[in-house]
Symmetry: C2
Subunit: 410 residues, 2 copies
Amino acid sequence: MSLIVQKYGGTSVGNIERIKAVAARVKTWRERGDRVVVVVSAMSGETDRLLALAKEIQARPNPREMDVLLSTGEQVTIALLSMALGGVGCPAKSYTGGQVHIRTDNSHNKARIRNINGARVEADLDAGCVVVVAGFQGVDEEGNITTLGRGGSDTSAVAMAAALDADECQIYTDVDGVYTTDPRIEPRARKLDRITFEEMLELASLGSKVLQIRAVEFAGKYRVPLRVLSSFKTGKGTLISFEEEAVEDAVISGIAFNRDEAKLTVLGVPDQPGVAYKILGPISEANIEVDMIIQNVTADEATTDFTFTVHRNDYEQALEILHSTTRSLAAREVSGDDRIAKISLVGVGMRSHAGIASRMFAALAKEGINIRMISTSEIKISVVVDERYLELGVRALHYAFELHHADGGC
Amino acid sequence: MSLIVQKYGGTSVGNIERIKAVAARVKTWRERGDRVVVVVSAMSGETDRLLALAKEIQARPNPREMDVLLSTGEQVTIALLSMALGGVGCPAKSYTGGQVHIRTDNSHNKARIRNINGARVEADLDAGCVVVVAGFQGVDEEGNITTLGRGGSDTSAVAMAAALDADECQIYTDVDGVYTTDPRIEPRARKLDRITFEEMLELASLGSKVLQIRAVEFAGKYRVPLRVLSSFKTGKGTLISFEEEAVEDAVISGIAFNRDEAKLTVLGVPDQPGVAYKILGPISEANIEVDMIIQNVTADEATTDFTFTVHRNDYEQALEILHSTTRSLAAREVSGDDRIAKISLVGVGMRSHAGIASRMFAALAKEGINIRMISTSEIKISVVVDERYLELGVRALHYAFELHHADGGC
């Protein structure tokens, strides 16, 4: 008998038929003897409907009241799902975030969970109930309703699993697992049975939108086994586990990509201490997040070229800031490009296998793809290329590392 | 500087424009220097929408979950109204029933308020905020969400006013006050400036649907001055006050009526002790509420005729029950009539004025209206007549007691 926390997103509970389907699925787990806690999102479309109401009143709605408003979305779902569970003979009790003491800080609209008191949920589980909890929401120290921001229901589920010391946290979504890359780009992309937390973090942050990154971090920190699976199909999905447990020892797990970035370069900066800070300080003050950063000494050794990437939406603003910084730094010029794409190879096996980078560069070179930036971490190599080479690059790497074979990636 | 609790019903907050209008109205009170607590219902249509969702899942939805579901309706309104207040420069904070500790018993869907802790609301008022509270809802001892049943927002407002020792509880609705009778039946019906709690109770329970009867009882018990007024028009509405304060000393305040009842008679019941119990026991066991009850000795003095009224919806079932009771009681026969109407004259002045009943019966007789049942209380005389005489009877009495004159009713 296991304790399972399941999370169903907005699409999975998007209408009454789907809520009934979720109830039926939960019932099969109960019938196996498992104890089940279900965390749900608002029905798809509901959050947008509420947002639109608020926007009719205030262009920038009051954040505290926004949370009071938006948290009703999940509350509707927990009630309906509990009814549906009752309807199929599964006694169930629903709780809002506040009712099960999901304590957060007081950052409305983007609160972070501090702790959860699982006592009440455990009592209900002991009494044979399925417990249905509203995702995405909590209360601060003073009992004000908070929300975790969009997608926060994943984090709610993981936090609940951690608090209850659950055997597994299952995230049901509209995809059936984590793939070696996006199947829309590489049709031979293969679903992974297992992946490590670190790999998942790199894949998630690099644009595979399967799981909320904070939820993955949380699960890694509290060592909650996490599984991604489909609400609509059967199958075991992908288990996100700890490195020592990983059975597939492929070097490379997957290829992530991102076309939301833009690249900015300051050329010919006099090479003095504090250059990086002088360039990036004003960018960060404007609340622009920087992703990759590269600094190279130039041929004359007296100046340096400094390149970084930002979100494409921030490109124009960042360029403007750079122009004024450049003047004060007496740098030669500023250039930029918002038609780039980032492709990243991710895999814990890199740690113990040499030659991954050169194999990657060779595969890209063979296709005539020019690499514009390179950045590496322990389990990831990212390259920036012209946007038009994105699909070609992803496919070339997928093939080169044999990711379409279950025993590939080595 | 007064402390005012205002309650706005579903129609008054039925869309964004109306919510903004409520905010503007609240602002005028704030600008007079009053401290204001606002209690709101769900936007009109919202409760029905939620109910329909529940019914799609379960024909008889789980009562606990129903409360979790329905309470979201008011929660949406408090958030939107607080935003609208912020938008017009009136700082506001919203609270659910649970957040301001509106403690109820645990009768889901029809809970009763036990107590309210006003401390948090008072702190916000002291800080210069308008406090917006979700009506209709509370939490039980264990923190489960409860609702007070339809119309319960009136009770929430009165209970909040009692807890805060407010100077006045204002119920904003789509009528501008309490009338001497329904203006759709008697166009000369006149709005009352004042009425006593006892009169209001009789008028409310007899079918004037202005105020929830429980709210009036609550206000009377805790001596909260209650005022009914229009959300859409200006005007002072009707103040419901205590007898000693009533300035208009009209004998009769108004005429209520009800066409939702049906009459049942058991003829020729052997006159023994316990007859009433034997007849009404099975009716009450079937959860049918009985309104008027009359028992008369017949000419032969050995048998009695027993008549009572029930809600028209319960008529068929009550008749069926009576048929079997009648056999066991050896009564002669059962008859019934569901085409009746009840007309009631209400006024505290009856206590000190004789001859009201005979004047009432004379007025009805003059129009050829046959009285089928009579029942009296200290401040009310009700008659049952054929349904087709309802309008004629109401108008005749309105005229006979000169209710269209401000100095009438005496």
